[in-house]
């Protein structure tokens, strides 16, 4: 019987959430009091009581900083391995060595837990026309591609990111940048993954450019 929080209660809940992610621990009653400018710790405490009543918050009585926002626990965070370079024998996943992981929640990625998901660091500018830049991290899912999907494919022993197209029942790959020709596979086309998400961290995020 969890009901909706009021505006104020939402704010409190948000502050708890934020405090947890920023400082790694939940705030105390008096920290909440201070943040909202209450004159009494009871103001914060009663909000917590209300949130608890509405099942939006859990806590251990008598325990310091024992606040836990209900939804946050259930968030399933997937560790997506990053393969900087995909070698030929991709089928054997066990031999892969990820260069770290991206962590993203399944919700926002809409990932099925059964699906094989991985990420690749993009090299080159052959897909800038599709707004995929050098250095971008592309999250891929192992499945059959559809016409128009962006895929990681194996061409001549190298893996590249291209758009997957079908013409006259024959699939081929297209780069999204002037000067790159279409790639029509001589033998068979090995699709290693279909792009489902993109993650970019601009290199110039903190750096000024020439005026």
């Amino acid at each position: 019987m969890s009901s909706r929080p009021t505006k104020r209660q939402e704010q409190v809940l948000d502050y708890v959430r934020r405090h947890r992610t920023q400082h790694g621990l939940a705030p105390t009653v008096r920290e909440i009091q201070k943040h909202f400018g209450f004159a009494s710790p009871n103001a914060a405490a009663s909000h917590l009581r209300a949130l608890q009543r509405k099942k939006l918050l859990y806590r251990h009585p008598g325990t310091a900083r024992a606040l836990r926002v209900t939804g946050d626990d259930r968030k399933e965070v997937a560790a997506i391995p990053i393969y900087g370079d995909i070698p030929a024998g991709f089928a054997d996943t066990r031999e892969q060595r990820p260069d770290g992981c991206v962590y993203a929640d399944l919700d926002s990625l809409d990932i099925r837990r059964t699906a094989r998901t991985f990420a690749v660091r993009v090299r080159g500018d052959s897909m800038t026309g599709a707004h995929i830049l050098d250095g971008d991290l592309v999250v891929l899912e192992l499945r059959e591609p559809n016409h128009g999907n962006i895929v990681a494919a194996l061409i001549d022993g190298e893996t590249t990111l291209k758009r997957y197209l079908v013409k006259n029942r024959r699939p081929f790959l297209r780069a999204e940048h002037p000067g790159y020709p279409d790639l029509i596979p001589a033998r068979e086309l090995v699709i290693q993954g279909v792009m489902i998400a993109l993650f970019r961290k601009p290199k110039d995020a903190g750096r000024p450019i020439e005026p």
Copy 2:
């Protein structure tokens, strides 16, 4: 100057880690004491001191349950609130209502824990030249922008994503799409955040079509 922990210290560190993942919060000194059967809280406390000296643990003095294992921070996933729409009075964070959250690890985002970070859903195509598309999720940090940064700014009561430029010591905003004029602020320029990351989930990604 971080050296190796002793066997016992390793056990304590392990217990702290386990307690955090199991209960969502760090143990107190006395909980550690109880777990190891110490007769004095000082036994646990001195272990924590040693671990701190070896840079394997961080804590806030005088704060309850403020233990953080050094390596674990990197795996920590931050909940970044998504503000679909940024109203005028942004300075008052308390009135914000996030439309859910993105979850990303601090490492890959290079987020400072102290920094105020949030995300905005991009609307419109004024930044396609900078490879930022309609529907993209842009992660922003609250800080002073540099020349060339992409920022969320408040213009005429509306928030837009633009490139921040400075000419003759006067800052202005530039869209990255043909046909959009530069925005030269009449009064003052309110910068709400500087882009530090981008997250895209293609709309046509999840459709499985049978051939």
